[in-house]
């Protein structure tokens, strides 16, 4: 019988899926605004613009709401885990093995830091685009370059993330951790050797 251990709390999973849903909505509506072929196909630019803007506001608000109403202490603990790089994390990034990993491996820590930064920058450049359309004081020649560049960078990270979580045979078991919350004990030991999972319930 496979024994399972808990990897992600309900708050962590909610945060992840709210983030994913918000990002995909923004990516979809953003691509309609950005790619000429989609712009032509869909039309209704003012409506798509509104959808994109309010999805952005909704994305950030929903994340804040989850953090506020969820297990705040747990999220702080998670942030500390993501922030701290042990000696083995550096070895892992340099592809030196063995390099047993904690609950998050070093790649996941980098991914989290980058995505958090992208969120801040998406919000900043998005608000500048919105208000710049209404007031020259908020207008910068490079706002649109920043917003587009972020889209490319974030989409590249997403593609890698989807490959590892859905396709790559060695890692795709991790998806279970983000859906039902648990992963098999054997898999945890193999991929996250430095992590001491909480006792099974």
């Amino acid at each position: 019988m496979t024994r399972y251990v808990r990897r992600f709390s309900r708050t962590e999973r909610t945060l992840h899926w709210v983030n994913a849903l918000g990002f995909l909505t923004l990516l979809g509506s953003g691509l309609i605004l950005y790619l000429p072929r989609l712009s032509i196909l869909v039309g209704r630019r003012p409506v798509v613009k509104d959808i994109h803007f309010w999805s952005g506001i909704g994305w950030v608000s929903a994340l804040a709401l989850v953090a506020l109403l969820g297990d705040r202490r747990g999220l702080l603990r998670m942030a500390r885990e993501l922030d701290g790089f042990e000696r083995d994390d550096i070895r892992w990034l340099k592809r030196i093995r063995p390099a047993p990993q904690g609950r998050f491996n070093a790649g996941q820590k980098l991914n989290a830091a980058l995505n958090a930064a992208f969120l801040v920058l998406f919000l900043l450049s998005g608000l500048l685009l919105f208000f710049g359309e209404r007031d020259t004081r908020f207008r910068f020649a490079s706002t649109v370059v920043l917003h587009d560049g972020l889209t490319f960078a974030a989409t590249a990270l997403l593609v890698g993330h989807l490959y590892l979580s859905l396709i790559h045979p060695a890692t795709r078991h991790a998806l279970r951790g983000m859906t039902v919350g648990t992963v098999s004990e054997d898999w945890a030991r193999a991929h996250h050797g430095r992590w001491t999972p909480p006792p099974a319930e």
Binding site: P36, E86, R103, V120, R134, A141, S142
Partner: protein, 231 residues
């Protein structure tokens, strides 16, 4: 009171690289507001080769629910208002007028530019002269088939030698998304003055605010010298 159990067995103090990466990315990204465009100019020649990226840097901006459709049989360009000789051209008649061409850079006020666009069309000042403006006409109002888009130029601005009514872009008839069949081209000014889907030009006493100007953009939209930009 619950006490947090140490998550890991003691190792040397972990390095706080996570917040470092976060802060460096946020600061680097925010600072790009001041250098991003010049750097992007250098790498966009590379990204233009990627099929997913908008070809040639165009983005299609519209203000209404759908783009106007061009019907060759019924389309007309009307020139009226304060003129002695109101004019009306069919598409064929417009194409039969003396043709002029130019290669110029198209600047959008939001920051993107498209270099070396080849335009062909009719010089605006030629058409206006034909209509014989009355003495109290000092500006032109351009009406787009995309309601409620309008914009205007003073007669002086409209008489710049490269202001044209373009019916070809890059050696092809103007595509629907670029304002088919005819758009205004005034390369000295930002794109929002370059009215697409042009269907009527009115000679008026003075220039008035157009669609974007009512939302706060400058009426005199000189590239690099308006809308908060200096160059």
């Amino acid at each position: 009171m619950s006490v947090d159990a140490p998550a890991e067995p003691p190792q040397p103090q972990p390095r706080r690289y996570g917040r470092g990466v976060f802060l460096a990315t946020v600061l680097g990204g925010a600072s790009s507001l001041f250098w991003g465009k010049s750097v992007w100019g250098h790498i966009s020649s590379v990204t233009n080769a990627i099929p997913l990226v908008p070809h040639g840097g165009w983005r299609i901006y519209t203000v209404s629910g759908s783009m106007p459709t061009f019907d060759r049989a019924t389309w007309r360009l009307e020139i009226g208002g304060l003129v002695d000789k109101p004019l009306s051209f069919s598409y064929a008649e417009l194409r039969a007028l003396p043709r002029t061409t130019q290669i110029s850079t198209f600047h959008c006020v939001t920051g993107w530019t498209v270099p070396d666009v080849h335009w062909a069309g009719v010089r605006l000042s030629d058409i206006i002269a034909q209509a014989q403006p009355q003495f109290d006409a000092h500006a032109l109002q351009f009406v787009s088939a995309e309601r409620p888009y309008v914009d205007s130029l003073t007669l002086q601005q409209a008489s710049l030698h490269d202001v044209m009514l373009a019916y070809e872009m890059n050696h092809k008839p103007l595509a629907r998304e670029h304002g088919a069949p005819v758009r205004l081209v005034i390369p000295e000014m930002y794109g929002y003055k370059n009215v697409k889907w042009l269907e009527r030009i009115n000679l008026v006493p003075q220039a008035e605010d157009g669609y974007w100007e009512l939302l706060g953009y400058d009426r005199d939209a000189w590239v690099g010298r308006s809308n908060g930009y200096t160059s």
